[in-house]
Amino acid sequence: MSNNVLHIENMTMQFGGVVAVNGLSLDVPEGKIIALIGPNGAGKTTAFNCITGLYEPTNGLIEFMDKPMIRNHPTGKMKRNYKGKNPADYLGKALSPTPDKITERGIARTFQNIRLWKSMTVFENVLVAKHMRAKQNFLSATFRTNAKEEKRMREETMALLVEQGLDKYKDDLATSLPYGLQRRLEIARALASEPKLLLLDEPAAGMNPQETQELADFIKEIREKYNLTIFLIEHHMDLVMKISDYIYVIDFGSKIAEGKPEEIQTNQRVIDAYLGVVEDE
């Protein structure tokens, strides 16, 4: 038994002739904050989309809590390249659950370009995320025999909003909030689905240094409080260096480096990828 929440092996995502993610392998250990960085267009968000089931990877295995979650190995490629410990995991048939099934298992995410439900209030946005785990069916919900459950959902939602400092906006339309608070609301919504692993796609995008600083504290705080493992994509290097326990760097879909923050800072390949290589000197 490993202590990895998420284990990705040899994940490849191909769109026609473009290989967006190429043979990516990585581990996300329980309780840690892991970062995935890379230049624009490196395939980071594509990797997230594969993990959350939005895309079906062309090839590869994704295990969640030590159980195979997504698996695809056209023409036995997976088997040939396999170097790991559990061959049995790879021989089964292809698995490609829909995103909601993956969320149900305990992976929640936020989006790079915020995707809140625009016709709903702040309160409703969080409340809907509770829908999945509520014990009810459409009949009990329609005829209000689920009153207890509904009450619990509302109370938990309110508690979550108070905690995030969003309670005073509760009846406002979600999209009327300032940008920073919309990001926070998206995180609150993800937390409402009671995840074990939280994927944050550029949580600090568009924030000033002050806000970024607050976000760093906030991420650490929710990790403690909800016993979370966090996997994030970020471009703000100071944030990444400050909070992550381990960093993976990808470029053109392939992993080019991994290590502790201080190792990444001095890694020549990473510097080259970000700044470009000066050719023939």
Binding site: F15, G16, T45, N49, L54, F111, Q112
Partner: protein, 291 residues
């Protein structure tokens, strides 16, 4: 055997007529991402134009007049009902299209007084001839030839003229082509003009094989032509034509059996199957939604 040959022949002919309608659907969809629900009714109105015009004018005058009027109708519909909604959600435009379809059907009902109108016999193409021993009308032979000629012209237009390039650019990316100085409105108008022209020609050929025109005459051919467009990959002209021929032939073959009721059902079933198996159709391009 003779029966089979005449079935196949009329299937090809029907397919050609569907193809002429399908091009209108596929071009409009390619550019505006709109299912032009009114297109089938434009086709029906063209049939009525012919009936009313030919009652007082000779055929060689009324045929061009029908085509001109139908083109004008298509142009006006676009300007009046779709242009004001250019920035509105897609659903609103689609509802507007349904509104136009409803309006055209009611206008037709008003004009005809609800009575089926007998279609004009166009002298030359209604004549009966024998091919491989199977009796058929000249229109059956003319249709595929005419369709191929028109499509060759259309393809040349799309691939080699300035307006054709503009059309392809707008179909690819609406906003960017606007930024690059393409006159969106005139491109869209021309698309509708071409679509209506082909529908008018299609209508002349189609209704020659049917005794009457009623306000709902456009609905079913419209639906089938749309399915043909989807089958061939929406936005692709050659795809739509191939799709239309396949649907036309299958439909006439099914009509020849005991299950003629299901000839329409077949089309819809085909639509579901294609969209389930290959949503982009035979010649369509794959688009991945960016998240």
């Amino acid at each position: 055997m003779e029966f089979f040959i005449s079935q196949v022949l009329s299937g090809i002919s029907l397919g050609g007529q569907y193809a002429l309608i399908a091009i209108g659907y596929t071009m409009v969809y390619g550019i505006l991402r709109l299912i032009n629900f009114a297109h089938g009714d434009v086709f029906m109105v063209a049939g009525l134009f012919m009936i009313y015009l030919s009652s007082s004018l000779p055929v060689f005058v009324s045929v061009p007049l029908v085509i001109i009027l139908t083109v004008a109708l298509g142009f006006i519909i676009e300007r009046a009902a779709y242009k004001p909604l250019r920035s509105a959600p897609r659903m609103s435009v689609m509802i507007s299209a349904i509104g136009v379809s409803y309006l055209l059907q009611n206008l037709a009902l008003y004009a005809t007084g609800g009575q089926p109108k007998t279609y004009t016999t166009i002298p030359f193409i209604s004549k009966t001839i024998k091919i491989l021993g199977a009796p058929t009308r000249i229109v059956t032979v003319i249709t595929p030839v005419l369709v191929i000629v028109l499509i060759v012209i259309l393809t040349l237009l799309i691939n080699h003229t300035k307006i054709g390039i503009a059309m392809r650019a707008v179909a690819k990316d609406f906003e960017t082509s606007q930024l690059m100085g393409v006159k969106i409105n005139s491109v869209i108008s021309i698309t509708f003009i071409i679509g209506s022209f082909l529908a008018a020609v299609g209508s002349l050929l189609y209704f020659t094989n049917y005794p009457t025109v009623v306000p709902l005459s456009g609905a079913m051919p419209g639906l089938k032509a749309f399915v043909a467009a989807v089958f061939g990959g929406i936005g692709s002209v050659p795809g739509a034509v191939i799709g239309a021929f396949i649907i036309g032939i299958c439909e006439t073959l099914i009509k020849g059996t005991d299950f003629s009721v299901f000839s329409d059902a077949f089309t819809v079933a085909l639509l579901i199957v294609i969209l389930g198996v290959k949503p982009t159709g035979m010649c369509g391009e794959k688009v991945t939604e960016k998240v």
